[in-house]
C-alpha cells in the first residue's frame, strides 16, 4: 500500500485540511448548539405548543446523534467512510427486507447481503471495473438462485423485490462510498450529504410556511408543491455556492454547471424520498423501522440519498472524475 493510499484511508490529521470540510463542520456544530436555544426561546414566548415541542426535541436529539455519526467517519479517513456507508447499506437493506417480507427468503436475502459486502469490497479496493460489474452479476445470480427452490409460485415477486433491494442499497448507496476513493473526497462527500439532507429540511420548512397545494397527496400527503419548489431553489443556491469552493479550478467551476448539479440533486433527493413513500404506502406501514426516535427507521431518514448518489457521482464523474489520481486496486493489485 502506497504512502498516499494510506494517508487517504487513515490519516485523520487531514480531517480539517480542506477549508470547506472545516467550515461545514463548524456551521453544523453551530446549528446544533443554536437550535435548542431557539427552541427554549420560542417555547418561553409560547410560540410552540406542548406536543409540537416534544416532537421537535425528539427530532433534534436524533440529528444530534446522526450528524456526528455521518461526519466523523468522513473526517477520520476514507476507510471509515467506505466501511460506514457499507454498514449503512446493510442496515437499510435489513429494514427494507423486513418491511417488504423479503427477509423470509433466507437464501436470496443472504445473497443480497453478500452482494452489498462485495460492492463495499470493490469500493474499498478502488476497483472500478469490479464495482460496475457487480450489480448485473448480482442480479443474474438472484434470478438464477430463485429458481433453485423449485417453487414458481411467487417467483416474479421474490426476484423483483430482490432486484429492487440491490438497486437501492447496493447500487444507490455504493456510489457514496466510491467517492471516498478520491484524494480530495472529504469536501465532495460532505457537499453531497449536506445538499441532500438540507434539501429535505428546505422542503419541510418551505412547505410549512408557504405550502398550500399538495404535490402528490396519494403518495405523501404532507408534501406540497411550494415545498418542492422551495427546496429546488434553496438547494440549487446551496450547491452552487459551496460547489464553487469544492470544485474550484476544475471543469465544474462554472455557475451554470453547478446550478444544474443543484437542480439534479434536489430532484433526485425528492424523488428518492417519494419512492420510499410509495413503498411504505404500498405496504401500508407508517415507518420503515423504529431505530431513530422522531424519524422512524434508517430508511425514513436516508431515503433521499438513494437516488441522488448515482446522479451526483456520474455528474461529477463526467466533468471531474473520482479517484483518477489515486492508486487503483489497493488490495487485489493488478
Amino acid at each position: 500500500m502506497s504512502e498516499s493510499t494510506r494517508n487517504r484511508l487513515f490519516d485523520y490529521t487531514q480531517a480539517f485540511a480542506d477549508p470547506v470540510a472545516t467550515a461545514v463542520t463548524i456551521a453544523l456544530a453551530a446549528v446544533l448548539i443554536l437550535v435548542p436555544c431557539i427552541f427554549v426561546v420560542l417555547s418561553r414566548l409560547g410560540k410552540i405548543t406542548d406536543p409540537m415541542r416534544g416532537e421537535l426535541w425528539r427530532r433534534y436529539f436524533a440529528w444530534l446523534v446522526l450528524i456526528p455519526l455521518l461526519l466523523v467517519p468522513i473526517l477520520l479517513g476514507a476507510a471509515w467512510t467506505i466501511l460506514g456507508f457499507g454498514a449503512l447499506s446493510v442496515f437499510c437493506y435489513r429494514e427494507y427486507a423486513r418491511a417488504v417480507g423479503l427477509f423470509r427468503e433466507k437464501v436470496l436475502s443472504l445473497l443480497i447481503v453478500i452482494g452489498i459486502l462485495l460492492i463495499t469490497f470493490a469500493v474499498f479496493d478502488h476497483w472500478y471495473n469490479f464495482f460496475h460489474a457487480l450489480p448485473p452479476l448480482i442480479v443474474a445470480t438472484l434470478i438464477a438462485a430463485a429458481i433453485l427452490q423449485d417453487e414458481p409460485k411467487g417467483y416474479i415477486q421474490r426476484v423483483a423485490l430482490s432486484v429492487l433491494g440491490v438497486a437501492l442499497f447496493g447500487v444507490g448507496m455504493g456510489h457514496i462510498g466510491y467517492m471516498a476513493n478520491d484524494v480530495d473526497y472529504r469536501p465532495r462527500v460532505i457537499l453531497f450529504l449536506l445538499a441532500v439532507e438540507a434539501n429535505d429540511v428546505f422542503a419541510f420548512l418551505a412547505g410549512k410556511t408557504l405550502g398550500k397545494r399538495k404535490l402528490c397527496p396519494n403518495t405523501s400527503p404532507n408534501k406540497t408543491i411550494a415545498g418542492a419548489v422551495g427546496a429546488l431553489v434553496l438547494t440549487t443556491l446551496l450547491v452552487a455556492g459551496i460547489g464553487k469552493y469544492v470544485y474550484h479550478g476544475t471543469e465544474l467551476d462554472s455557475w451554470p454547471l453547478l446550478a444544474l448539479l443543484g437542480v439534479l440533486l434536489s430532484l433526485a433527493g425528492q424523488l428518492g424520498d417519494l419512492a420510499l413513500s410509495s413503498i411504505k404506502r404500498d405496504l401500508g406501514v407508517k415507518d420503515m423501522g423504529v431505530l431513530i426516535p422522531g424519524h422512524g427507521g434508517l430508511l425514513d431518514r436516508f431515503d433521499s440519498i438513494l437516488l441522488a448518489a448515482p446522479v451526483y457521482f456520474h455528474y461529477v464523474g463526467y466533468f471531474v472524475g473520482f479517484g483518477l489520481t489515486s492508486t487503483p486496486r489497493i488490495l487485489t493489485g493488478g
Binding site: G101, L102, L283, G284, V290
Partner: protein, 241 residues
C-alpha cells in the same frame, strides 16, 4: 400472476426489546445464524456429555404444525426435547418458556429469543388473548412448539399433574400433540444444581395424538390433558443403564 404474498414482518414497528418478547417475532438472517450455531453446539454437547439417545424418532409427524410435550425436571429439558427434530425446522421450533424467568429483563429476553428461539408464556397473567395468538401462529406459520404441561420443573424428579394450558392451546386444532418422555435430565441437572453432571439422557417419542375433534371448552381441556398425561406416563420405562 399470483396475488402478492409477501407482507411486512409480523413484528414490524416493534423496538428490539419489544420484539424479543413478542409472540409474533420472526427470524431474520442474524437470528437464523444464531439459532443454527446455538443448535449445533447444543446437539454436540448433548451427544458428547450426556450420550443422548433418541427412541421413536419415526413417530414425529413429517411436517409441522405439531406440539412436543414431555415431563419437566430440568433446565436441560427444552434443549433435549428439541434435539431429535430435523435441521431444516431449526427456525420454526419454539420452546414455550416461562415469561417471568426467561423474559424477565431485556438481556435475558434477548438471549432466550435469539439463542433459544423461545416464546414467552406468562404464568400469572396468561390471558386467553396470548393463548389465541400462540394457537394461531402454530397453524399459520406452521411451526413446532416445545412445551412442558406441568408448568414448572419437578423438584423431586417425579412427574406432576398437567395443567390445562395445553388443552387451551390444541383442543379442536388440527395440530397433533406428540407425547415424549425424558429420562436422565433430573440426574444430570436437577433444579437445585447449578452445573450439569455427565449423566446419560434419553428421549422417548410416542405416537402423535390428535385432538381435532375435542371441543375447545373446560371439559375438552380436561380430557385432553388427561389423555396426554397418560400417554407421557406410558412412555416412562426403567432407568437407563
Amino acid at each position: 400472476m399470483e396475488p402478492w404474498q409477501l407482507e411486512p414482518a409480523h413484528d414490524h414497528g416493534l423496538s428490539m426489546s419489544q420484539r424479543t418478547r413478542s409472540l409474533q417475532r420472526e427470524s431474520g438472517l442474524v437470528s437464523t445464524a444464531l439459532h443454527w450455531t446455538c443448535w449445533t453446539i447444543i446437539r454436540s454437547y448433548l451427544g458428547l456429555y450426556h450420550r443422548l439417545s433418541i427412541v421413536g424418532r419415526e413417530n414425529l409427524p413429517p411436517e409441522p404444525p405439531y406440539i412436543l410435550v414431555a415431563n419437566h425436571t430440568s433446565h436441560l429439558d427444552a434443549l433435549v426435547l428439541a434435539a431429535p427434530l430435523p435441521a431444516r425446522l431449526r427456525d420454526r421450533v419454539f420452546p414455550i418458556a416461562a415469561g417471568d424467568v426467561f423474559f424477565e429483563t431485556p438481556m435475558i429476553s434477548a438471549f432466550s429469543a435469539f439463542f433459544l428461539n423461545a416464546l414467552p408464556m406468562w404464568r400469572k397473567k396468561c390471558g386467553p388473548h396470548a393463548l389465541q395468538e400462540l394457537r394461531d401462529r402454530l397453524l399459520s406459520d406452521p411451526c413446532v412448539y416445545v412445551l412442558f404441561p406441568e408448568g414448572s420443573r419437578s423438584r423431586d424428579g417425579q412427574m406432576m399433574a398437567f395443567k390445562k394450558g395445553l388443552g387451551m392451546l390444541v383442543a379442536g386444532s388440527p395440530a397433533p400433540v406428540v407425547p415424549c418422555h425424558l429420562d436422565g435430565c433430573f440426574d444430570a441437572l436437577p433444579a437445585d444444581r447449578k452445573w450439569p453432571r455427565p449423566r446419560r439422557i434419553r428421549v422417548t417419542i410416542g405416537k402423535p395424538l390428535s385432538f381435532a375433534n375435542e371441543p375447545n371448552d373446560r371439559e375438552g381441556w380436561e380430557r385432553l390433558m388427561q389423555a396426554v398425561e397418560v400417554a407421557v406416563r406410558g412412555l416412562q420405562t426403567n432407568k437407563i443403564v
